[in-house]
């Protein structure tokens, strides 16, 4: 069905709304990538098999965010939350909850510290402390249906925008204080205004000028961040609607979504959503009778981290190597095919729909003075409740990790929060009470970045973590500029040397000097921020570097070159370690204490991970040189 004007859209929405009974029992099952990995598709199939439409509607939704507990099932309208649901649990849910309105207690959420069972989704601390503006619809709609989106108020902001002028929309955006959610935090409204001015100038020069471009940066390459994926999988229309508003405001005629090839489900849902919007006449020519023409195309990335950088991303859309170029000119003046291009992150586009819907003043009330609105963090690593959390700017890290995240599991101690991916930094315990906003994190040496928040416990070696990130950046460096290409390699070599127990006096100073050089000399943000993980770990965990270099101690017992393994007397002689040892370094007889030959042992740790009796002790303080590595060197 094609919608030709505003009133038809409202009529259609009213019709859908009337058909939607808010009290109809509905079983919503999370269909995000996380829950799918746990088998939520089979749970959906079981639910469809066991339920008739009269009893309850079954809906596979986007990601609910609480990935730790998947597959997630929420029974509406009561909002009963069931965790780790398997297909075999469905008959019980049907019998107890749907037919008799009672709670299946064994599937309810159990509070990790109090042990209390919590039946309702809204009461679970993980959800109760969030402010969900962008993710709020994820658990309530089927991402493959435009009708469900429209029924929940979808494309209302778009219709509102089409009735305004571009300047009015941009004014609203500037008033809201929205800053780029990709991490750099540039004010979105200002970017739009720059592009609009340029497009108007070009139109004056050439009345036939078709308009500039808008583009969506969905190349979420930061390891540890997956909120963009979740938003596109769970609510693709919201992202598209945001781009439509932006295109209308600045006068763009074409949009591109640049998305990672690693996200097949998001690509699929987005492509479906675009087809549906086109079919309804929300994309195409003369949209809603306003004379505005606009369409969006999907472009796939091919596994290059640097393509998250804006100029590299635009080069990649143009079909070239994804190499950044110097700015200015900024893409808002000269972007895709040298035309004015507004490039925003997925969350920024989606946020603009909320700002138009609720008004700039309402939005500006959320957050801190300089950082407005909400931010989605992916809370992952060694934390009890892993998943996606959306919180107002200005929340403290402590609230995020210990309040919403439920603290560190298995009685371990918190060590650092790695925030902002390879461009970010590690924040230690003493700064956990700092409110999170763009400025405060920068002053701590980290960045908001895309919102990846990886929690590290005492088992994480900070030198090794710095080495890990440097290895990542080194592999992903595009090679265009020397400071990044060679500087990161030298940094990596220094870190590898320290991790192997070969560190020398003066290496820390070398790291610092080189980091400064890479930061100042690199062409794009990837190189400029590459030393951040090294600099923050040096700033807060310098002692660990010193221990590695001077004492040959890796306190977290991660760096192989500083470890040795031995078997202690809790060994029952079960032979499991000996069978699993790839180096055949373990000898021993059944029921007798085993022994590890230190000359054969490769420090792989398989024995410790298979031993059921905690009989493998790991010592540190001595340097071990891998004889194989020498042989090949």
């Amino acid at each position: 069905m094609k919608i030709e004007n505003f009133s038809q859209l409202e009529e259609y929405r009213a019709k859908l709304d009337a058909a939607r009974d808010p009290n109809q029992p509905t079983v919503t099952i999370c269909g995000g990538t996380g829950c799918r990995a746990y088998g939520s598709e089979q749970v959906v199939a079981a639910a469809r098999e066991n339920l008739t439409e009269d009893q309850a509607h079954v809906r596979m939704t986007g990601c609910h965010g609480f990935c730790e507990k998947g597959p997630l099932v929420v029974v509406q309208p009561e909002g009963l939350f069931y965790a780790r649901v398997q297909p075999k649990d469905i008959p019980e849910i049907v019998e107890t909850t749907i037919k008799h309105g009672k709670v299946v207690e064994r599937l309810s959420y159990v509070h990790p510290t109090t042990g209390e069972k919590i039946a309702h989704e809204r009461d679970i601390p993980f959800y109760a402390r969030q402010t969900r503006l962008l993710l709020n619809q994820n658990g309530h709609l089927d991402p493959t249906s435009i009708d469900e989106y429209i029924a929940l108020g979808g494309y209302k902001s778009y219709a509102k925008a089409l009735a305004l002028t571009g300047d009015q929309i941009i004014e609203e955006l500037i008033k809201s204080g929205l800053r780029g959610r990709g991490g750099a935090g540039f004010p979105t409204g200002i970017k739009w205004r720059t592009a609009k001015t340029e497009i108007e100038r070009l139109k004056k020069l050439d009345p036939k000028y078709p308009g500039g471009f808008v583009a969506c940066n969905a190349d979420e390459g930061d390891p540890g961040a997956y909120m963009d994926r979740s938003l596109m999988e769970g609510n693709p229309h919201r992202v598209i609607e945001g781009m439509m508003i932006g295109a209308y405001a600045v006068g763009a005629s074409r949009g591109y979504v640049y998305i990672r090839a690693e996200y097949p489900l998001a690509v699929h849902h987005l492509a479906m959503a675009l087809d549906q919007a086109r079919e309804m006449g929300l994309l195409g020519e003369n949209i809603l009778g306003t004379g505005f023409n606009f369409d969006i195309e999907i472009r796939l990335g091919a596994g290059a981290f640097v393509c998250g950088e804006e100029t590299a991303l635009l080069a990649s859309i143009e079909g070239k190597r994804g190499e950044p170029r110097p700015r200015p000119p900024f893409p808002a003046i000269s972007g895709l095919w040298a035309q004015p291009t507004v490039l925003n992150n997925v969350k920024s586009w989606a946020s603009s729909t909320i700002i138009l819907d609720k008004g700039a003043e309402w939005y500006a009330k959320i957050g801190t003075e300089k950082s407005k609105g909400t931010m989605i963090f992916s809370l992952v690593g060694t934390v009890s409740n892993t998943g996606l959390v959306e919180v107002p700017m200005g929340i403290t890290l402590r609230e995020l990790i210990f309040g919403i995240g439920g603290g560190i599991p298995n009685g371990k101690k918190f060590k650092a929060a790695q925030i902002g991916g390879p461009s970010g930094g590690c924040i230690p315990e003493q700064h956990l009470d700092t409110p999170i906003d763009y400025e405060s994190l920068t002053s701590l040496g980290a960045i908001v970045g895309s919102g990846g928040l990886v929690v590290a416990n005492e088992d994480t070696c900070m030198v090794d973590l710095a080495r890990y990130f440097m290895n990542f950046v080194q592999e992903e460096s595009c090679g265009k500029c020397v400071p990044c290409r060679i500087g990161t390699l030298r940094l990596l070599e220094l870190l590898e040397k320290i991790c192997a127990g070969q560190g020398e006096d003066g290496d820390i100073e070398k790291l610092e000097r080189l980091s400064k050089f890479v930061n100042q000399g690199s062409l794009c943000a990837l190189g400029q921020t590459a030393p951040n993980p090294v600099l923050t770990t040096l700033r807060y965990f310098r002692k660990e570097y010193e221990q590695h270099i001077y004492d040959h101690v890796c306190a977290a017992k991660v760096c192989k070159g500083l470890l040795s393994y031995r078997i202690i007397d809790t060994c029952t002689g079960c032979m499991v370690c000996a069978r699993n040892c790839p180096a055949k370094a373990i000898t021993g007889e059944k029921l007798k204490l085993h022994k590890i030959d230190p000359n054969l042992c490769e420090r792989c740790g398989v024995c410790a991970s298979v031993c059921k009796f905690n009989a493998i002790a790991i010592d540190t303080g001595q340097v071990w040189v891998n004889p194989k590595a020498l042989q090949h060197a």
Partner: protein, 184 residues
């Protein structure tokens, strides 16, 4: 991936002779032509074509690059440069099964390196390479965006979360891969 010495495993030999290249096989060449025709009119078509062919044919060989460059009327460096830049494009065919180990930060702090070591040891293939019998390709990826499930292994596009050494062994067994493959 340097946590274990991998150099003792021999490099995979060149995998296919010239007459088995997609360009030499009429059927596959027709498909390449079709993809080029479909994408050619769109702006920035090189990436579109390469993405499509990589996922359909599993690799973009040197003869294919020559062929595409000729058809598009661009210098070979514009195709070769793009193929070598992006890690998703490969010049050698992948194996029948593709096992990808996520090395993202969240997986890293939960011990992804140990999982990778185990797979390397069991499959006797280095990361980024294909076994000589072309049964399996082992790859590392920087993040598959399933961070809450870490460590994650994606085998033939199916995600397995919260991996450990035993689960990794079971996964290989279910694909009938690794040292014990074929042994009943």
């Amino acid at each position: 991936m340097r946590s274990k010495d991998l150099r003792s495993i021999p490099m995979a030999p060149a995998l296919i002779p010239a007459d088995e290249d997609p360009v030499a096989i009429a059927e596959q060449r027709a498909r390449i032509d079709q993809v080029i025709v479909d994408c050619q009119k769109r702006k920035g078509s090189t990436m579109l074509i390469l993405n499509q062919l990589q996922s359909e044919l599993g690799h973009i060989s040197r003869p294919m690059q020559n062929y595409i460059a000729d058809k598009l009327g661009v210098p070979l460096k514009d195709v070769y440069g793009v193929v070598t830049f992006y890690s998703f494009f490969t010049m050698k065919p992948r194996g029948k099964h593709v096992v990808r180990v996520c090395m993202g930060t969240a997986c890293h702090v939960r011990g992804a390196a140990k999982i990778l070591d185990r797979l390397v040891e069991k499959l006797e293939v280095k990361p980024g390479e294909t076994s000589p019998d072309r049964q399996v390709t082992l790859e590392t990826v920087n993040c598959v965006g399933a961070c809450a499930l870490g460590p994650v292994v994606v085998a033939d596009n199916a995600y397995s979360g919260q991996m450990n050494v035993a689960k990794a062994d079971r996964l290989l067994k279910s694909l009938n891969l690794g040292q014990d493959a074929g042994k009943k």
